[in-house]
Each structure stands twice: as C-alpha cells, then as structure tokens.
C-alpha cells in the first residue's frame, strides 16, 4: 500500500488530535517533549524547564483547533514553547542580565582585529581548557546574558539547529533579521568563551 508521506507526518497527527483522537495527541507529545524540554532548558533553566514544558503542551492541547494545517506543526510548537519560555523569564523578574558587549571583537583604527591569531583561536579549545561541568555552567550563563531577541534566535538556529528560514517562521521576522540576531549572539558568546579560556575576543 502506498501511504502519502504527509500521512505519517506531524500535520496529519495534529489534524487527528484536533478531531479528538487522544492517541494522536499523545503521539505528538511523545515526539516533541524531548526537544521542548531541551529548548526550555536553554531558554530558561533546568529548574524552570519543566513548567515551560507543561505550559507548552497545555497550550498546544487547548489551541490545537486553531492550528492551520497548511503551516508547519513544528514551527507552531517551537513558537509556543519560545513564548512560554519568555513569559516564564519575565515572571521570574530576575535582575537584568549584565550585557556581554565587552566581549565583542576589538578592532584598531584601520579596522584590523587587535588580538593575535592564537588568542582569537582559543575559543575552539575551550573544551580542553575548561572542566566539562564548568563549561556547561558558563555556556548556559552566556546564553542567559544575551538580550531576549538574540537568545531566542541563537538557541533556535545554533543549538536546536533549525534553518534560518524555520527560525524566521517561528519568530515571525525575515531571514535577514534572523541572521543579524544570530550573528550578534555568536560574536558575544564566542568572545565570552574566549576570555574564559584565557584568550582575547
């Protein structure tokens, strides 16, 4: 029997779930919960991620009937989870994170990078130079210190490995805006890790 590819896809499950098929809904939950948990940890914290996961799936359940079949289901799920993460961060009302701007690359008057090649290269060696747990903590701290817009774009594009076009759909901005935000985040995080490892941004 030939089954159309879309039949086994998320969109078909979502349509069945919206029609009241509990098994289809739970299949979607099982399919997505790992990704949503990991995303939530990166966008909030390991402590807050469970709340984000619960909230995300409750919202998906409640709003399934508004999901338009033409859109990509994963995009819709990522958008809900990203917004739930942001809401939770705001509810926590943490004091504003210290910006990472001091870790941007530095240039001389001619626009030439100031640091030496060896100092610039050191971010690549941060795994050998730092203890694994320390690196995990610092990497998360760097993500936390990014402005919201950069954090979301960076986490979705570079950590969850969505394409630029997919991130643009999730965040409802154009691809050039995604690239601009991700690039800025990369410069900041790269410079921060570089200094941690004893290099220069």
């Amino acid at each position: 029997m030939i089954v159309p590819a879309a039949e086994s896809g998320d969109e078909a499950f979502a349509a069945r779930a919206a029609a009241g098929d509990d098994a289809a809904f739970e299949a979607l939950v099982v399919r997505y919960q790992h990704r949503i948990f990991r995303l939530a940890c990166r966008l909030t914290s390991e402590t807050d991620a469970p709340d984000v996961v619960q909230e995300t799936f409750l919202q998906i359940y409640r709003h399934l009937s508004t999901f338009r079949g033409g859109a990509q289901f994963s995009t819709w799920v990522y958008r809900i989870a990203t917004n739930a993460s942001l809401m939770l961060r705001r509810a926590r009302a943490r004091r504003p994170a210290e910006p990472l701007d001091e870790f941007l690359p530095r240039f001389d008057a001619d626009g030439k990078l100031e640091a030496t090649p060896d100092a610039l290269r050191i971010t690549s060696r941060v795994e050998e130079l730092l203890d694994r747990h320390e690196l995990a903590k610092k990497a998360q701290a760097a993500i936390d210190r990014l402005p919201d817009l950069y954090r979301e774009a960076f986490v979705l594009r570079d950590l969850e490995e969505l394409s630029t076009a997919e991130v643009a759909q999730v965040l409802r901005v154009d691809a050039a805006t995604v690239r601009q935000r991700v690039h800025r985040a990369r410069l900041l995080v790269r410079g921060y890790l570089s200094e941690l490892a004893g290099g220069r941004p």
Binding site: Q33, R38, P50, Q54, F57, L113, P117, S124, A139, T164
Partner: protein, 85 residues
C-alpha cells in the same frame, strides 16, 4: 566596492556563510581572509562555537517529567470533557 578589512568582513560573516551575499562581496571576503591570519583564526572559532555550546548544554528530559506531562494532559482532557457534558 570598498576593500574588505577585518571589521567589515566579520560584520558580513553569517551572511557570507549562508550564501546571502552578492558574489563580488563574497569574493572580496575570501580574498581578505586568505591573506589575514587573524580573520582565519577568528572565523575558525566563530564556526566552532555553536557546536561547543550545543554539546555543553545537551540534556535529556527526566523520565519523571515525561510521565507527569502525559498525566497533566490527561487530567486537563478529563476536566474539559466534564465541562462539555
């Protein structure tokens, strides 16, 4: 077109990597990087960083949470159906 120096090349780096630049601009960046050990080192670490952060923040969902997600959803479903009846 103005010559590319480190600062202008780095500004365009992600667009370059994603093929979003006009071919003459991309060629000018390549020409600069070929002759600039600083940019070469910078770009290597810029490319490597996402993988490092991705690996450092990789985490598995706790089994207890998996179970409680489904339990909470079933409870919400039962509550919604009671309301509908």
């Amino acid at each position: 077109m103005k010559d590319i120096v480190c600062v202008s090349g780095i500004e365009l780096l992600m667009e370059y990597m994603e093929g979003a630049l006009a071919s003459d601009v991309a060629a000018a960046i390549e020409a600069h990087v070929a002759a600039c050990p600083r940019c070469e080192a910078f770009i290597a670490s810029y490319r490597e960083m996402p993988r490092i952060v991705r690996d450092a923040t990789r985490i598995e969902i706790p089994a207890a949470l998996e179970a409680s997600v489904l339990a909470a959803l079933r409870a919400a479903r039962r509550a919604a159906r009671r309301r509908d009846e």
